[in-house]
Amino acid sequence: MKKHNFGKGLMREWPMHLMMLPAVLLIILFSYIPYAGLAIAFERFNPSKGFFGSPFVGWDNFEYMIKMPGISQVIWNTVYIACMKMVGGLIVPIVFALLLNEVIHTKFKRAVQTLIYLPHFLSWVILGGVLTDILSPSGGLVNSLIGWFGAEPVFFLGNEKLFPYVLAVSDIWKEFGFGTIIYLAAITSINPVLYEAAICDGANRWRQIWHITLPGMTPIIVLMMTLSLGNVLNAGFDQVFNLYSPVVYRTGDILDTLVYRLGLIDAQYGVATAVGLFKSVVSTVFIVISYICAFRFANYRIF
């Protein structure tokens, strides 16, 4: 009886299997075969022999990775830069959305919105070029402004101490407009009756924000907070790669750029894959935790 049902189900469902087929094949090719390729992390990889033909070396690559000078600094840089971005990227858009919500003139509001998320759509190659130009110590826009106040020009992209902060600030600059839109959407979905009731009860603007707007935003804030948790090792390869130079490697080098240089520049495939695997595993743990939290606290389900 069951078997009969199964056959019938297959008859009914085969068009849907067919629809999934091309995507499934492509995902196997470009996502699942690379999983098998993680074997490289345990091999002395020889490209001509393929994923499984190269000599197996056990945990050697990982041992090499741990003993690599500066690896702890790179991990620290990654976490430090990523956390600055996570915190700033959460707070700035919330504050900005609250301020923008106080604006009465719709045209002004829309104009501001239009301008603030423009950088989001530009690639880090373009913005890297833009930042290199405006932050240049000789004639860059920012240094000319600093010059008006009589200060010495600052070499932002060549100063180890400043570099992580330049990364954090420029990333927040690029992305805060995008976040603002999300929070603003949450604010506009709050029932206006609540505000009217609060005004009747004598609540001023601050009280309204504190007791109505912020609680109304809480679900989305919690959601964004938990989902950003998965980025704890994502310090932003595109950005760092397009802004850093050997002078700031000490404070600006992150796991992703290290993997790139080890693997594709120095051709140390085994070690680079090991570093990448380390990053992937830790990231996955955080992403899973973040999704569980998002489900628990914000009742978020991805599909």
């Binding site: 995507a23 690379p34 900005f96 106080e102 690639s123 000789s138 595109d238 996955t284």
Partner: protein
């Protein structure tokens, strides 16, 4: 009508100024680069260009277009966007439909959903990905730029959630009339999802246009570079061997080389298509991110 208090008025004034200031900060760097690109190079190198061109000239653009690689990379990028977005959208639609079904309608739904979702949870990393593409003999071909990102899983999830919000009755009545899944998808679901699809097309266009790293590592010949990769090699990356023994002063001068106006022109030319697309992006993308982030 409640009269605004003085405190309120002051707050409003400061608020408006603050917001205007930050909005200005978001575009000022771009305006600066545009102005630099339209100025005479001597003035740009001296740093006297702020937010308006000094001694207006389009010389740097003329010079930028003299490089044949600029035009070829424009061609590659356009080709990539057209092929890539077409594949992206076709697969997104095909995947979103079965996955939007309930388990009782499509018993393997959960299995397939997890199959896709795992690729978001866990990445194989750069090196295995790179080696795979090399083993597949895709290096230096346009397919290396479009096939690995052919299935945008996040977009699939957005669209499947959109499909689920559509009234079930439409599908059911079409089914009664004898329509198969294929007909229901293309004749009912897709026409009803036009705003969502428009958003996803724009997302996909921006993604493909902005990708540069795959071009850098997968294309061997510069003629095959997409525009962003071309820009990366021209404007950002400098010869690392030259830097190895450089002093701080040498570095500074290297980073402020005299072809500043040329670089600015190249930057602006690469950003131009996105700027042209921006009005459309704006219209749809608020809907799009709200669709993705705020759902029942």
């Amino acid at each position: 009508m409640v009269r605004a208090s003085t405190g309120r008025t002051v707050f409003q004034l400061i608020n408006y100024l603050l917001l205007a200031f930050f909005a200005f900060i978001c575009v000022a760097p771009l305006i600066n680069v545009l102005s630099v690109s339209l100025s005479e190079s001597a003035y740009a190198a001296a740093g006297s260009v702020k937010l308006w061109p000094v001694h207006f000239t389009i010389e740097s653009y003329v010079f930028a277009f003299k490089d044949k690689l600029l035009l070829s990379s424009y061609g590659v990028s356009i080709q990539r966007v057209i092929i890539g977005v077409a594949i992206n959208m076709f697969l997104t639609i095909l995947v979103a439909y079965p996955l939007s079904k309930e388990v009782r309608e499509f018993r393997f739904r959960t299995l397939y959903a997890w199959f896709l979702f795992i690729t978001i949870l866990f990445h194989g990393g750069l090196i295995p990905w790179y080696v795979t593409i090399r083993q597949l003999n895709l290096m230096d071909s346009i397919w290396a730029l479009v096939l690995p990102s052919a299935v945008p899983v996040f977009n699939c999830i957005l669209l499947l959630n959109f499909f689920r919000q559509l009234p079930k009755e439409l599908q059911e009545s079409a089914h009664m009339d004898g329509a198969g899944h294929w007909t229901i998808l293309w004749r009912i679901m897709v026409p009803l999802s036009k705003p969502a699809l428009a958003t996803l097309v724009l997302f996909a266009c921006v993604n493909h246009w902005n990708s540069w790293f795959d071009g850098l590592i997968l294309m061997k010949r510069p003629e095959h570079y997409p525009l962003q990769t071309y820009l990366q090699t021209k404007v950002i990356s400098f010869d690392a061997s030259a830097l190895a023994g450089a002093t701080k002063e040498e570095l500074e001068s290297l980073m402020a080389v005299s072809d500043r106006t040329l670089k600015a022109a190249q930057i602006f030319l690469s950003a131009l298509p996105i700027m042209c697309l921006y009005p459309f992006l704006q219209k749809y993308f608020v809907k799009g991110i709200v669709m993705g982030s705020v759902k029942e």
